[in-house]
Symmetry: C2
Subunit: 304 residues, 2 copies
């Protein structure tokens, strides 16, 4: 069962030829979740072969252009390509005003329903529960209201032990019930405990997306132990004062957060256009957290 992140943009406020603004796609059991949608995200879909028609949920962190300016174009493309399936958008309350005015002025009535869910930027809340995933908001500390998102795979089924299934002659019709954790009641009324017949399900995997934010330890309880943490690192530590002023983080700070939250893997991105090489970001973050990766456009990331 797939649980895979694709990074489509690792740049920050000003795009460069090599770096696009923020957009991540999380694939959970072949359901696609788009997180942020900077300008040019559609082109990145084509370039990196993302089947974007399968996106049913879009999450926008905040209203700085590099995180949402690709959204209205994407809505329009889905409309023109004949989408009829509903689309769910989670983001700052005012986002819907930006969408609505542009659809209205281009005389566009979308062919598919859009359900908009305003996100409270001050309190962590459960936003979505599906068969695949549970999504919780992570209040971030930025210049404008900003929210990260924690994706946790929904609990998975227990694994049948095939040798035991044969030994106890368990009928096929009982498999679903066993996978859910029920004991087996045989026709002669004996009970075979579930623990004899199944193994624990695979661990639920998780991904936390934290962009944009200054260094703020208050997110640690919310991201504790996640399999993959994406934490912005707009600057290197030599510009930590600039980071503080602009409510951004340095690579070193991202590493400290990852370490304190005891996450399994850290991905850093949202690099300022002033940096040509990204190697120093990796070196710096590694000083405080070992298992760190640069968010590379087009790359896919799994849990360890």
């Amino acid at each position: 069962m797939i649980f895979e992140l694709t990074v489509l943009g690792n740049g920050s406020a000003t795009p460069t030829y090599f770096r696009h603004p923020s957009a991540h796609v999380l694939n959970v059991h072949d359901h696609l979740f788009l997180i942020d949608c900077g300008e040019g995200t559609q082109i990145q879909f084509y370039r990196h072969r993302v089947k974007f028609h399968r996106i049913n949920h879009i999450f926008i962190t905040h209203l700085h252009g590099d995180h949402f300016l690709g959204l209205v174009g994407l809505l329009s493309t889905l409309h023109l390509q004949g989408r009829t399936v509903g689309l769910n958008i989670f983001g700052p309350a005012d986002l819907i005003r930006i969408i609505d005015i542009q659809l209205e002025l281009s005389d566009t009535i979308l062919r598919y329903p859009v359900q908009f869910y305003p996100v409270d930027p001050h309190n962590s809340k459960k936003l979505l529960v599906t068969d695949q995933v549970e999504v919780t908001s992570i209040p971030l500390n930025h210049r404008v209201p900003c929210t990260g998102f924690l994706f946790k795979e929904s609990s998975r089924e227990r694994n049948l032990i095939s040798s035991k299934i044969k030994e106890y002659k368990i009928p096929y019709a009982s498999f679903d019930s066993l996978k859910k954790g029920d004991d087996f009641h045989s026709p002669d009324s004996t009970i075979i405990p579930n623990a004899l017949l199944t193994l624990d399900p695979p661990k639920q995997r998780s991904y936390a997306y934290c962009s944009d934010t200054c260094y703020d330890e208050s997110i640690i309880p919310l991201i504790k132990g996640v399999d993959i943490l994406y934490h912005e690192s707009t600057f290197l530590d030599e510009l930590r004062e600039r980071a503080k002023e602009t409510y951004h983080s340095t690579a070193k700070q991202a590493g400290v957060i990852a370490s304190k939250a005891n996450v399994k893997k850290l991905i850093i991105g949202h690099f300022s256009a002033r940096y040509k090489s990204l190697d120093p970001f990796l070196e710096e973050a590694r000083l405080t957290f070992n298992n760190v990766y640069i968010a590379m456009e087009g790359e896919k990331y799994q849990t360890d």
Copy 2:
């Protein structure tokens, strides 16, 4: 003196990996004029080495996303990069609402002044006169109010005939006056006619941008004899009914307009994403107008 068009996008409403939405840059004597600004225009600036900081005038034809969705990101980038020089934007009256709401909600106060000029979509008017160029609006016939733009090089100076300048011992201080067409008054009160000392200036060059529009002959008087006409051709003639329904044109129709308006050169673009090859567009337009070119992204076009 340069008069050169750079095409940055030749696609239509839905971008593809190979085609970006509309954006043209006209360079007149090293002053850059941006015409339409689809999503991703900034990236195209980088890719095709357009010195976009030198753009002081932006013209937006209409409020379909593929013609303006890159604008707010561009304004933001210019702001973040420290621009202080004023920027002039010409476009549909409601465009300023779209700009303002996004700047307001991202808590951005631009560091440079923006002067917005609403364009009347129903009547052709002179919009701008600078030392380099005169810009006139061209009302187009589209599903929403839409305006093309005619750029005409400002009248250029007469050329001094150096042999005559020497022969009549014309002092340097009189050169400017001669270039403007004045006769030369010598200290002994003889008058040397300008025609003896100068040649006619080079012809004023012109460029007309007509996107998006259905086939409509009413534009012909406005674009008569232009050096370069860009006319949209979203479809091939086999889809002329679809073109009519959507207020777009076919390659054949673009050729007919070019021919009837007796223009010097035709460039066609705004191709529907359904077409993989663009050769049929060229072949079709050539049936009705000979000197036609496909708008290729990154290509530069001059007058003949």
